[in-house]
């Protein structure tokens, strides 16, 4: 597991995190530390807390114990520095917005309520569309894009937001091989630029090609580190061979 963090690279610190639904902990006393420049796969069986972990880091769920820090700062105050990519089915693709409009949304946290876009904002929008090969598609309504292009448009919005931490919930679900390839390339690019990317992922095949670091969960943390060392048969047996905790015995958090 990487603890190095140089310059303004983000370090995500999760300390003793518990998130529960109706007293059943989906994530139980989980601690980890991740540095920038890594593409991290979050693995585990259904119900192991993959989405819960991402949502908790995104500040969408309340931590029952523990805390989450980005760098030295509490995550709640670091909102513009992180970005959460929704699952594809939760997006209204008929929304009247073009690719450029979507990427411009990323600048909103920086420009305030009414200020017009400055040269720097416009530059950031154009630059992030360029980075994700979206310039030729700038004026397309978002429904007119392929699945992979749609994912890239959302990544470009996050880039325009100058986010350091990218949280992606099952982004590869439903993408064919070509689209998966372009998405993987885009994530690779972000990683090389020093960003920290957390991706929940359910398929174990090609895990090593996609992610340099892996987190294996089943409520509790089973392993976290270089992908090859985490996804060992032993660890996987431990993660997938253990029933998901669903609230059988007494366990309270004082």
């Amino acid at each position: 597991m990487s603890t190095s963090s140089s310059g303004n690279q983000p370090t995500l610190i999760v300390e003793d995190l518990t998130v529960s639904y109706h007293r059943v902990p989906a994530i139980h006393h989980l601690s980890l530390r991740l540095g920038g420049g890594h593409c991290v796969g979050v693995f585990g069986p259904n119900g192991a807390g993959k989405s819960t972990l991402l949502k908790a880091v995104a500040g969408l769920l309340k931590a029952e114990t523990g805390r989450i820090l980005l760098g030295e700062r509490d995550l709640a105050k670091a909102a513009p520095r992180l970005t959460y990519l929704p699952q594809r089915e939760s997006v209204d693709w008929d929304f009247p917005v073009t690719v450029r409009g979507l990427v411009e949304m990323g600048r909103y946290p920086h420009v305030g309520l009414l200020c017009p876009f400055s040269e720097r904002d416009k530059e950031a929008v154009t630059q992030s569309m360029e980075l994700f090969d979206l310039l030729p598609l700038a004026n397309r309504q978002i429904k007119e894009l392929s699945g992979g292009q749609q994912q890239r448009a959302f990544l470009a919005r996050a880039w325009a937001q100058e986010a350091d931490l990218y949280l992606l919930d099952e982004p590869f679900a439903g993408l064919d091989r070509g689209n998966s390839g372009t998405l993987a390339k885009a994530l690779q690019k972000l990683k090389e630029l020093g960003k920290l990317i957390l991706v929940s992922h359910h398929a174990l095949a090609e895990a090593e090609a996609l992610f340099d670091t892996a987190i294996l969960l089943n409520g509790e943390l089973i392993a976290c580190g270089p992908t090859a060392e985490v996804l060992t048969p032993q660890n996987l047996e431990c993660a997938y061979g253990t029933a998901i905790f669903s609230g059988g015995h007494r366990h309270t958090h004082a």
Partner: protein, 316 residues
């Protein structure tokens, strides 16, 4: 020449009356404001919630009529409180019981509506139920006009001021919350403005048709454009011209103004539904069968495609 001056007098003649002037001004303001607000309601997919709220205004109006008579301020406050009670009550019921929120809100609003009809009988002043249900634009007084001014000013100012966080919330509330926007406040504010828009349009179109001014202009604009900004101002513009046009028509045809305005909006929606360049059904039908040549062409070259183009296998 005489026909032209005759036509002109058709427009100018009613303008000589003060009550028509007031009605027109009020209609124009409300049409514009509610057309503008409509975009937010449609994109938030709350058209049916707005319908429920419009019905739940009635008991509030009745209670206001009982307590303070027909003063516009009292009616505004009464309607606002009643609709917000139904909206919040519905949420509360859904959270604490097995009932889903649309069942809870539908139950509450229809109960509120029935209660309103009963309560109106107890008003000290003589109230015609049909005025509340269908509006009475020609009865617009100076007080009503002030309500229109205030509603228009408040609504447009707030929506323009908070356009960016609103847009992020409408597009994806979860992502907006993760990027630090107070989504709960935004949603509550939008709900309050919706109720304000409904109450402000009571004189023009009444409880039962107030939804029309809120939904139809923006729905029409939604079919015509893929730009959020154009949808906003387009909806406002359509609301404005339909309200004014509908009022003139109602004056000459001697039909109540509410149905005239709503039917004029309906004609515009119908036209957009049929012939909107990209999203209308006729252009879609006329666009031909499918891109036959174009689909085959891509196997020849690599233009316009960002994935690896597979080799065409002629032998299979």
């Amino acid at each position: 020449m005489s026909t032209l001056s005759h036509l002109l007098s058709l427009v100018t003649e009613p303008l000589g009356y003060t009550f028509i002037q007031r009605a027109l001004l009020s209609c124009a303001l409300i049409g514009f404001t509610n057309g503008f607000l409509g975009t937010f309601i449609i994109l938030r997919r709350q058209a049916l919630l707005a319908d429920a709220l419009s019905h739940s205004l009635l008991p509030g109006l009745a209670v206001a009529a009982i307590l303070v008579g027909l003063s516009p301020g009292g009616l505004l406050l009464g309607g606002l409180v009643a609709a917000l009670l139904v909206a919040l009550g519905g949420q509360l019921m859904a959270r604490n019981s097995r009932l889903k929120d649309e069942t809870a809100i539908a139950s509450l609003y229809i109960i509120a509506f029935a209660l309103g009809i009963v309560l109106i009988r107890f008003a000290k002043v003589k109230v015609d139920l049909t005025h509340f249900l269908f509006g009475n634009i020609l009865g617009v007084g100076n007080g009503d006009l002030w309500v229109s001014y205030a509603a228009a000013f408040l609504t447009i100012t707030l929506l323009v001021l908070f356009q960016r966080p609103l847009l992020l919330t409408l597009f994806d509330a979860t992502v907006a919350r993760a990027s630090g926007i107070k989504v709960g406040w935004i949603e509550a504010g939008l709900l309050t403005l919706t109720v304000l828009g409904l109450v402000a349009s009571l004189q023009a179109v009444g409880v039962l048709l107030s939804l029309g001014l809120l939904i139809l202009p923006a729905a029409t604009a939604y079919l015509l454009t893929d730009s959020f900004t154009r949808m906003l101002w387009g909806g406002a513009f359509l609301g404005l011209i339909s309200s004014v046009g509908g009022l003139f028509f109602s004056f000459y045809a001697n039909i109540p103004s509410g149905p005239c305005i709503v039917l004029l909006l309906a004609i515009l929606l119908g036209i957009a539904y049929l012939v909107a360049p990209r999203h209308g059904i006729l252009p879609k039908l006329l666009r031909g069968r499918h891109f036959h040549e174009e689909s085959l062409e891509r196997w020849e070259g690599h233009q316009g495609h960002d994935h690896d183009v597979p080799q065409r296998k002629d032998e299979c």
